[in-house]
Symmetry: C2
Amino acid sequence: MKNVADLAGVGVKTVSRVINQERYVSADTIARVMRAAEQLQYQPDVQAGNLRRADRRTDTLGLLVGSVANPFSAAVHRAVEDAAIQRHVAVFASSLDDDPERERASVEAFLRRRVDGLILTTIQRSQAYLGPQLEQGMPVVFVDRKPNGLIADTVLTDNLEGAARGTRHLLAAGHRRIAFLGDSEEIYTAKERKRGYLDALRLEGVAPDPRLVIENLGEEAQAELAVNELLALDDPPTAIFSAQNLITIGAIIALRAQGASERVALVGFDDVPMASLLSPAVTVVAQDPSAIGAIAARRIFERLDGESEPARDFIVPTRLIKRGSGEIRPA
Amino acid sequence: MKNVADLAGVGVKTVSRVINQERYVSADTIARVMRAAEQLQYQPDVQAGNLRRADRRTDTLGLLVGSVANPFSAAVHRAVEDAAIQRHVAVFASSLDDDPERERASVEAFLRRRVDGLILTTIQRSQAYLGPQLEQGMPVVFVDRKPNGLIADTVLTDNLEGAARGTRHLLAAGHRRIAFLGDSEEIYTAKERKRGYLDALRLEGVAPDPRLVIENLGEEAQAELAVNELLALDDPPTAIFSAQNLITIGAIIALRAQGASERVALVGFDDVPMASLLSPAVTVVAQDPSAIGAIAARRIFERLDGESEPARDFIVPTRLIKRGSGEIRPA
DNA sequence: GTGAAAGCGCTAACAT
DNA sequence: ATGTTAGCGCTTTCAC
């Protein structure tokens, strides 16, 4: 900057004024400074500037997601990026990978870099460690999971209603023996989805059969085994509601292997890639990760712009996509 | 930092020493400083420190990919992140979205933030604008596409050999009329894949039929139309080699709609999600995005650590995954 | 409309 | 083993 100033024959502050497009600089001076900057290939240093700047903004955001390689997270990321780029804000993205250590480490790394705000999918038992930041007014939005030990803006899929809706769809097709395949009971979203399933059954006067409720399914292979068990029952289910992505895939594989995919109905929570090209095509209760990311980013920027209303939950509705597997009727 | 120093009753430099784990600080002093830091919830500011630091590193990397929401890019991203996190380097990720404007804007944003290195998928006709950075020794690695007007490290899928291999696989099954469905002719990877296809035919003594080569297919719908045209030919192809992800999906849809999916063989370049659950399951020449990301990151860090050998191309091999669609024999 | 000086949070260089 | 001073690239404050 000093060099540019010297070359243009002005003071550093004038260069600063031109770079930041402040007023009260003559057109002539602007032109001279621009030319000098061009000639020296001057790139302003955002970080250095933000050091002294009144609002102390770094124009960066920290985003922590399950894994940047997972489609849901990637869609959230993309939406956040699109919102950020318009404000010239850059996004640090980091993957959590179900590792509580990594959560703390990533958040610390963000904090050390003085991000303006945080969008987090969390896994630790408590997020109380973020208390000081919240008090200092740093915008923090939680995504997909509620924080523990902390009150903050949160963007959530309507897990309860979504799961109920999927279940009701199967009930409406005439099913009464509907199995539930769920994720780890410790996860908030998993609990909500199970609750939605049970609520829907209850409302229809169907007593839940505990043998049809299988939880703590972490990956495809476990879901496959679970479906095999279900089909081996004396009185097997005529339909399956699978409460998560990978579980749905596992269920598809198992149903197909057993030759039951055209007989046993299946509705999955969360969309599955290529779902419409499978046979039968897979009916799902789809989440809206783009909306989640967009809302989270919007909230961060609102807070940054001074919005100070109390923390809220933003509930994002789901969408039932009927493709075939969920419309199979009981024999 | 000043506050911590005061509270601990030491000078700022001593705090700095403790934070950076430099030697020559007594255990007792370390303890006092740590306690003070804890008490004040002190978070060092990485950026401020790097301002004066000799190596001027910001411990950040800029990553520009097609779209963080696309599975290939996401896998590259993930691999880069995993390498970076071990060095306490944070990654700015940005999506290109086939928009040359966005390429420039993102790179500028990275540069303004003084990233230590750049990993780029590019689209602009020329990357000469990065010349100054390269000369100044900033590590830049291009990924998936070669840069134009610039010599720099590049990590590439073996497009030529991969496409040849996919084509040879179809030839080996006895096909002689093999169609080629390609992306925009302007894209480097698309050109290479076409070349691989033609080379394989030539080597086998099969004269390419220009009516079987359809290019500039940007999305699924266009690929569908192309396949419909091909099947309507007097002498239709018995096999299709589709040179890109979305094109493969379009081809699957069209083949299925025409009832030809069990009759016409299909090999796709780049893996397709859920490929093994489709019927027929899709044979592909798979790329290895994780390897690409890992190699790119490794190269950046090698350069940062002083490696100064001339720029090289790193060629990442493909893998033929036989799943069914590519093993269909001609009638 | 413009510039000089101080200072943002930190590290380098040089004390002691 | 520890402290002091200058300075990184910029913005602020205030003077002209």
